[in-house]
């Protein structure tokens, strides 16, 4: 019987009711008394020197209240990079200042260099147009191509950075000689050059912010589309505007998806706050979709050469990767860690390969900043590995399933430290591979292929096995690796006098369903109904200092913090029960919502204990405090390591190059499962995005740095017709060994594992269909690219 309550139940989401009735409250849905509208003036050129901005005409237009330019912010701080990465030669990365508004130079199309505040949106828009007309920008040659940018000393994105390079990173530098030697001596080396295509995150809710200032108290409030309100507060208050942290409240209300793009602090947030203070009126801004395309942090954008050395039976000897990673024009908050520690450390995959070396050169270009997008670095690692393994299997005529199997780390090897310094705590990669092969009926493929062939279609099957390091945390580890913040999380459990419970969490839900899942854990732990538990999130004035949601960390970090706070609640409850039942605290047991004296029928319900905590008429106050509220911060010992195996079955129409995904199978190991329905939904969504990356999504800048895919007319989003029903399994469970819930995280899995499965399926279809010259097609594997590859 499926569970109907608590941990493991597919409890329906309570937040759905408001979203389904139009009662969700997203930032742009709020109306604030006296509000004004900000519109940003954005660069039309990719690279240029600002010669003059004449604000007079715009400022005099109807309804205009203020005009801001980069000059107004040149003395406040920059928006910092969150991680300091060191180059192979020991030098610190180059970190140019990222101002609130561009000053002296514009560095990408969409770079905001001014803002207009007016009584109405239309007035602000009109004045912004005027200001653009009154600005003189000397256009400079655009730096778009990474290879050309590197070492180009005459044309620089940032004048102070001579070669457009942020850093040249090696992981692990001490491995390098051994890897080189191993590759040189290996019986076979497979080489693959590939592009991990740049993506625009495209959360369906565009970014929006409302700044407020309260002159009576000097307090500020920022309502914004954020995945992590405390981090935003820290950045905007302490680093950029110099506001005391305790004078700024950041609220992230209902947020319409993030996928990474709403982790970061953006200049628009600082601008609305500064403008609100100047005007003593609320200032609001909502991005148009075309602005989102130009100014949201993009994702991926790697150019990679990977080499796989093996023996002739397919036993892996070494992986060597050289990657150029685009960071765009400025360093977004996680931009420097994504291509390094979230990518290079994963380059052993689930394999017991003895030698791995990764080199990443990160490059400034005149394009929008690039940062973490669902999976962040780990999809790039997985794609490189799983594509090159697939290519090796073809070159050596080996079975791709068997090759994975013989190279997997086996269950008796855990804990297992990889050559790229991660310590996998547990896993069972053979189990998920066996499972997915059974689900996909691999044995029956040939029959299905023959059936496709009868209809004139080429059918292929692609496999990908993946692992990730997530539950992004351990402060002690990330600190060693250059993080400038800690990555713990926090929860406060407040049991109210009437027995219902408020839980204030540092995680932020923007689609993940925390309001439903976290109460399931509370219910199981305290023996109370889920409906008596309310989750509070997204408001720095209400929640403990947490680090928000990304990197599949909500449950594995914040959920565990909550679990630990619940332990404290139970411990305190036992103290209270001991007092009320006149027993020793050691004799109190807690089960099914009752505190009992062991071996007797004396007991108090949870509700009685809660009430007593707030009506402490006869408490021994020297030893027992009133109240029942506990906070815990949790900083894990290690990352968590979900893993899995995916199979994609696809059909290619050779006449048009069109790829149809016929079936997609996922066998994942997420450790313990709190709510199966939500886990499935997370995998579906991730796979949908992965199919999008593999088949249709492309971010295309021309040589002048103009974004040609700046709207849904040219940037293809996967639609309902582009994807099949997915088949998802999570029954292979090796619970995480270092957190008490045994959970690993499931938010990014689908986006990590799916792109190589899709591309491998397409190559398989073409190979089986006789187009044996096609060994690789870069993503997106669009009809035109497939047709050109076949006919090329």
């Amino acid at each position: 019987m499926p569970k109907d309550h608590g941990i493991g139940a597919s409890t329906k989401r309570r937040e759905d009711v408001r979203f389904l009735t139009g009662k969700g409250v997203y930032t742009d849905d709020m109306r604030v008394y006296g509000q004004t509208y900000a519109v940003f003036v954005r660069s039309q050129v990719a690279h240029g020197r600002i010669k003059s901005i004449n604000t007079g005409n715009a400022a005099a237009m109807p309804g205009v209240l203020a005009v801001f330019t980069g000059e107004d912010f040149k003395d406040v701080g920059g928006n910092p990079a969150g991680w300091l990465i060191k180059s192979r030669n020991g030098e610190a990365m180059r970190e140019p200042k990222r101002p609130v508004l561009a000053h002296s130079k514009v560095r990408h199309v969409g770079d905001a260099y001014a803002a207009v505040i007016a009584e109405t949106y239309a007035q602000a828009k009109d004045a912004a147009q005027q200001l653009a007309d009154d600005t003189e920008i000397e256009e400079l040659p655009a730096i778009v191509d990474m290879a050309a940018a590197l070492g180009n000393t005459s044309n620089r994105v940032h004048d102070e950075i001579p070669d457009n390079q942020c850093y040249d990173w090696g992981w692990i530098e001490d491995n390098r000689a051994a890897v080189d030697a191993a590759i040189k001596a290996a019986p076979h080396v497979t080489t693959l050059e590939l592009v991990n295509n740049r993506l625009v995150p495209n959360a369906m809710e565009p970014r929006a912010s409302i700044g407020e200032y309260f002159p009576g108290t000097g307090d500020y409030k920022l309502t914004t589309t954020s995945q992590n309100p405390h981090l935003t507060r820290l950045l905007v208050a302490a680093f950029v505007l110099g506001i005391p942290e305790n004078k700024l409240t950041v609220v992230a209300p209902d947020v319409g998806g993030g996928f990474g793009s709403k982790i970061y602090h953006y200049g628009e947030e600082a601008l609305v706050l500064a403008a609100a203070k100047k005007l003593c009126r609320p200032v609001r801004w909502t991005a148009e979709r075309s602005e989102s395309f130009l100014s949201d942090a993009h994702g991926r954008d790697h150019v990679t050469k990977i080499e796989l050395a093996s023996d002739l039976e397919g036993n892996f000897i070494a992986f060597r990767t050289e990657t150029m990673a685009n960071v765009g024009a400025y360093l977004s908050n996680f931009a420097t860690v994504t291509p390094t520690f979230l990518h290079g450390t994963l380059m052993a995959g689930p394999y017991k390969v003895p030698h791995v070396y990764v080199n990443v050169k990160t490059v400034f270009t005149n394009t929008a900043p690039v940062d973490a997008y669902r999976g962040a670095g780990r999809p790039e690692a997985t794609y490189s590995l799983e594509r090159v393994v697939d290519k090796m299997c073809r070159e050596l005529n080996l079975d791709p399933f068997e090759v994975r199997r013989k190279n997997f780390i086996t269950t008796d090897m855990f804990p297992y430290t990889t050559p790229v310094a991660l310590a996998y705590d547990t896993g069972n990669y053979h189990a998920t591979l066996d499972k997915v092969m059974e689900m996909a009926d691999v044995a029956g493929f040939e029959k299905r292929r023959a059936e496709s062939a009868k209809r004139g279609k080429l059918r292929g099957m692609g496999l990908s096995t993946w692992i990730e390091a997530c539950g992004i945390a351990p402060s002690h580890l990330v600190g060693i690796l250059g993080a400038r913040v800690g990555l713990y999380d926090a929860a406060t459990v407040r049991v109210n006098a009437t027995g219902n419970i408020s839980v204030m969490v540092g995680a932020h839900s923007h689609g993940q369903g925390h309001e439903t899942v976290f109460p399931q854990i509370v219910a199981s732990k305290l023996g109370v109904p889920e409906s008596s538990v309310e989750i509070v999130h997204g408001d720095t004035s209400k929640i403990p200092f947490g680090m928000g949601s990304y990197g599949s960390r909500s449950l594995a970090v914040c959920g565990v913090a909550m679990d630990k706070a619940l332990d404290k609640i139970v411990a305190k409850g036992k103290k209270i029960a001991a007092h009320m039942l006149e027993a020793s605290e050691d004799d109190i047991t807690f089960e099914d919502g009752r505190f009992s004296v062991a071996g007797t029928d004396k007991a108090k319900t949870f509700g009685e204990i809660a009430f007593s905590a707030y009506v402490p008429h006869n408490y021994p106050l020297e030893t027992l405090e009133p109240g029942l509220e506990e906070t815990a911060f949790y900083d894990p010992a290690n990352f968590t390591y979900p893993a899995g195996a995916y199979i994609c079955e696809a059909e290619v129409d050779a006449e048009t190059g069109k790829v149809d995904i016929l079936a997609f199978y996922c066998a994942d190991d997420f450790g313990n499962i709190m709510n199966p329905m939500i886990v499935e939904g997370q995998v579906h969504g991730g796979v949908g995005q992965g199919i999008g990356q593999a088949l249709v999504e492309n971010t295309y800048y021309d040589s002048n740095g103009q974004l040609l895919t700046g709207s849904y007319m040219d940037y293809a989003m996967p639609r309902a017709t582009d994807v099949p029903f997915y088949t998802v399994d999570y029954s292979c469970q090796t619970p995480c060994t270092h957190n008490p819930l045994g959970v690993k995280g499931c938010g990014e899995a689908g986006a990590i594992g799916s792109p190589p499965a899709v591309v491998n399926a397409v190559i398989d279809a073409l190979q089986r269909g006789g187009h044996t010259h096609v060994t690789h097609i870069d993503m997106p594997v669009s009809p035109s690219r497939v047709w050109s590859a076949i006919n090329g």
Partner: protein, 260 residues
């Protein structure tokens, strides 16, 4: 977008008058015009909505002629043009359902987007474009991408289609916009076959004479197997190379023939 005066006349005569004003622009559903105005790429001072004119709405059949009012939505054509199934099918595949409930045949033809579906049907059918001033043969109407024979202040009131003996439309979607990356409309009449291609050419919708000749003597997909379009006039962009578009256009013709 810039502001403008909005008027919604109830008759063709009123619309003619309204559109004679300086800066006036016809609005016929607005599914393309409105996004353009949001980008401030069009800034009319007056918009004249044509969708309130009863005499410009509806689908009528008279023998082998089908007449569609210019303000008839794609959804209505899809539902009511059963006498010309290929055309109904084309209308039912434009954009998405919500777009089909607003977009009109007149609006589509007046805009003449090089990737729009309707121009191929009008050209392949040898339809007549009826305007507020005159009647224009399809072969004279389309004058290159976003360019038509319509004069200032002139607007389409109806389109008259001769119904072919056999016809079909085959379209390959551009993955983002869902406009045609290439679309082919094939119409077979007693006097011969007409083939129009949309989505593929720099010059907008065009008739493919070689394919028409081949199909007129042998109406089968195989008849055009060996034909090829010159890639040099095709659109080459991030969605497909010129050679790809040339290929796709031929494949769509073959599929249209097979489906007709």
């Amino acid at each position: 977008m810039h502001n403008f005066d909005f008027v919604k006349p109830a008759s063709v005569a009123e619309a003619v008058k309204a559109l004679s004003a300086d800066g006036a622009q016809a609005l016929s559903g607005g599914q393309t015009l409105m996004p353009t105005m949001k980008q401030r790429l069009a800034a009319p001072t007056m918009l004249v909505s044509l969708t309130g004119i009863a005499e410009m709405k509806g689908v009528k059949v008279d023998g082998r002629t089908l007449t569609i009012g210019a303000a008839t939505t794609h959804a209505t054509v899809a539902k009511e043009a059963a006498a010309y199934p290929a055309l109904a099918n084309l209308a039912g595949g434009i954009g998405d359902p919500a777009v089909r409930n607003r977009g009109t045949i007149g609006g589509s033809l007046a805009n003449n987007d090089p990737s729009a579906c309707y121009p191929s049907a009008v050209l392949a059918s040898g339809a007549t474009v009826v305007t507020s001033k005159r009647e224009i043969a399809a072969d004279d109407y389309f004058q290159g991408m976003f360019s038509t024979a319509l004069e200032e202040g002139e607007f389409i009131t109806a389109v008259r289609f001769p119904i072919p003996d056999r016809a079909a439309y085959a379209k390959f979607d551009q993955p983002a916009s869902r406009f045609a990356l290439a679309g082919a409309f094939v119409a077979r009449f007693a006097g011969g076959v007409r083939v129009a291609i949309t989505g593929a050419s720099e010059g907008g919708v065009f008739r493919w004479a070689e394919a028409e000749a081949a199909l007129s003597s042998n109406y089968s997909a195989d008849a055009i197997k060996g034909l090829s379009l010159d890639p040099s006039g095709m659109i080459g962009d991030l969605h497909g190379t010129q050679a790809y578009r040339a290929n796709l256009a031929r494949v769509m013709v073959q599929r249209a023939v097979a489906a007709s």
